[in-house]
């Protein structure tokens, strides 16, 4: 399903697949324990809204792709019972946590009887950035003609990653020498790369402020986002520069905030897209970086030492840029706007420079952030607001890219023509990107 190599040429289904509706559940910081706000309930809501947004009938949907997990750091406490009102409210599977702290296609289909014609079902690892290419490839390959693509996140009490192995006084296993065993915070490796980036090219952490401020501003215009819904606070330069360090040079505002939410998209053939509610958004190509196998495992591009260096991140990002442009059959200068991943703000510079967005070369992104990167300007950066602007979902880029091209991005609508956009992520070494276009090319 995933294109990971260089030299694969133009995507074989370029312009023949379309990404259409986007459906979102509400967003919350954490689950409040009620059935109707469970991750399962919200997944159903997102799927139904996506179909409505695209203008498709449930009976016309014949495929469903989801990701295999609804968290990376919030685990259901062992022994805590599942609330009875949840069990009474929904059809269950054999897994008592289905719909609460995890999600299966079986649970979804049992609770969506209106989906009467599903013939293709797939579960992929990781997150929306794999769900979308898988759905797109499946439609292109003819495995499904109208496919729902879903990602859902749950979030519970407490902080991510506390307890478990992190509470032990010893470390075991192959990870015992890596940053997660020795430092702890997820942003530490990116922080180390960015520290080296500043050493190599000059620049300071403060120079990220315009990017983070702009991203939150855009996120506040994403109605489905956490900040827009619950805490409509812009970030000021003072806020950013005074924010507490997590792993310096990454501070709290450089880190995305875990939330509970679900989002779904309708992927279909270019032919069928013509009959849908809004204008077609054509997929020109998808590609990424990762290592497949064994089984369903998709791992990062392997680094040479205990963790990735700046040089490896830059090389990977450059390879990602070459691969996605090759797949889409375009050059970087053809891209109108970019919604690449910003889950830690710091590595956004690698994505921008690796792609060559706005003609950027290595080391130039921090100065670039001083120019007009707003949605009103010539080089819209992160017009969706991304994770910084909306919370840790990784999907606002897909929603926004579709809406920009369809002219439905509302207050976020970019002023230049929204012809071609790129979205996807995550870190350079484990990333899937997608290019969407107003024309099939």
């Amino acid at each position: 399903m995933f294109r990971l190599q260089e030299g694969m040429g133009v995507w074989e289904h370029r312009g023949k697949v379309a990404a259409m509706g986007a459906g979102h559940s509400p967003t919350a910081r954490r689950w409040d324990g009620k059935p109707d706000t469970s991750v399962g309930a919200w997944a159903l809501e997102a799927l139904r809204k996506a179909m409505e947004d695209a203008g498709v009938e449930p009976k016309d949907v014949d495929g469903l792709v989801i990701s295999d997990s609804t968290t990376t750091g919030a685990y259901w406490p062992a022994g805590r019972p599942v609330p009875q009102d949840f069990l009474d409210r929904f059809e269950q599977t054999d897994d008592p946590l289905d719909g609460i702290a995890q999600l299966s296609t079986e649970w979804i289909l049992r609770n969506m009887p209106e989906l009467t014609n599903i013939k293709f079902v797939m579960t992929v690892p990781l997150c929306i950035s794999l769900v979308m290419p898988a759905a797109v490839q499946a439609v292109g390959d003819g495995l499904t003609s109208t496919c729902l693509a879903l990602k859902a996140w749950h979030n519970l009490d407490g902080r991510y990653y506390q307890g478990g192995a992190n509470a032990e006084p010893t470390v075991s296993g192959p990870g015992k020498y890596n940053p997660f065993a020795l430092a702890g915070p997820a942003c530490y490796p990116t922080a180390v790369e960015f520290q080296r980036y500043m050493y190599k090219y000059g620049g300071s952490h403060e120079m990220l402020a315009p990017f983070v401020i702009n991203s939150r501003r855009n996120g506040l215009l994403m109605p489905e986002g956490y900040w827009a819904q619950h805490r409509p606070e812009p970030i000021t330069e003072e806020d950013y520069n005074n924010s507490r360090w997590v792993a310096k040079p990454a501070n709290l505002l450089d880190n995305d905030m875990p939330v509970q939410a679900a989002a779904a998209y309708v992927i279909t053939t270019a032919e069928r897209a013509k009959d849908m509610r809004h204008k077609p958004v054509y997929v020109l190509g998808h590609s990424g970086a990762g290592t497949i196998g064994p089984g369903d495992y998709i791992g990062p591009v392997r680094w040479r030492g205990v963790f990735e260096t700046l040089e490896e991140a830059e090389a990977c990002a450059a390879a990602n840029g070459r691969k996605i442009l090759e797949a889409a059959g375009i050059s970087a200068g053809d891209i109108s706007f970019e919604n690449m991943y910003d889950g830690f703000s710091l590595f956004h510079v690698f994505h921008l420079e690796g792609l060559g967005f706005a003609g950027l070369k290595r080391g130039e992104a921090l100065d670039f952030f001083k120019t007009d990167i707003t949605n009103d300007g010539p080089n819209p950066v992160n017009p969706s607001g991304g994770n910084i602007g909306g919370g840790r979902t990784r999907w606002y880029g897909y929603t926004d890219t579709i809406q920009q091209i369809q002219g439905r991005a509302g207050a976020r609508q970019i002023k230049i023509p929204a012809e071609i956009g790129i979205t996807g992520g995550m870190m350079p070494f484990s990333s899937m990107f997608m290019i969407l276009s107003a024309t099939p090319g």
């Binding site: 430092a183 180390v192 520290q195 507490r244 030492g305």
Partner: protein, 137 residues
């Protein structure tokens, strides 16, 4: 700086035993002339175990980069926040980098590019020694 104790397994027992003797040894593949760390079952260059051996190395290195950890989920390290954790390149071993708390270097005063040398520090829970690096000169 409270450190956690690594528990030896089949792959890294030679490495950790050597640390207890204050020697730094790394896996080296004679077929590829390539070091690797952490230790693995095969050489990641040629994907074979045939050329793998353990080689003692000097431990001299250079600070490549660092982070300062202010908020860790690792319980054992929380009392000592903020702390440095640096990535160092080993001079003799191309491509090898390792992580160190840089004992003796003040928090957030890490000199990227400085020369470092290995020291061996016991970890509290089991007494297992681990390699750390100190700025020299």
């Amino acid at each position: 700086m409270p450190r956690r104790s690594p528990i030896p397994d089949e792959l890294d027992k030679p490495f950790l035993d050597a640390c207890n003797e204050e020697r730094l040894i790394l896996q080296h593949c004679t077929a590829c002339d390539r070091y690797q760390f952490p230790p693995e079952a095969v050489c990641n260059g040629c994907k074979s175990a045939g050329g793998l051996e353990w080689r003692e190395v000097s431990g001299r290195g250079t600070i490549y980069s660092y982070g300062v950890v202010y908020d860790t989920p690792i319980a054992a390290l929380q009392p000592d926040m903020p702390f440095n954790l640096a990535m160092i390149d080993l001079d003799e071993c191309e491509g090898i980098n390792m992580l160190t708390y840089l004992p003796g270097t003040p928090v957030d005063e890490v000199p990227i590019g400085a020369a470092v040398d290995v020291v061996f520090v016991p970890t509290q829970p089991t007494g297992q020694k681990v390699p750390e690096w100190k700025v020299i000169g």
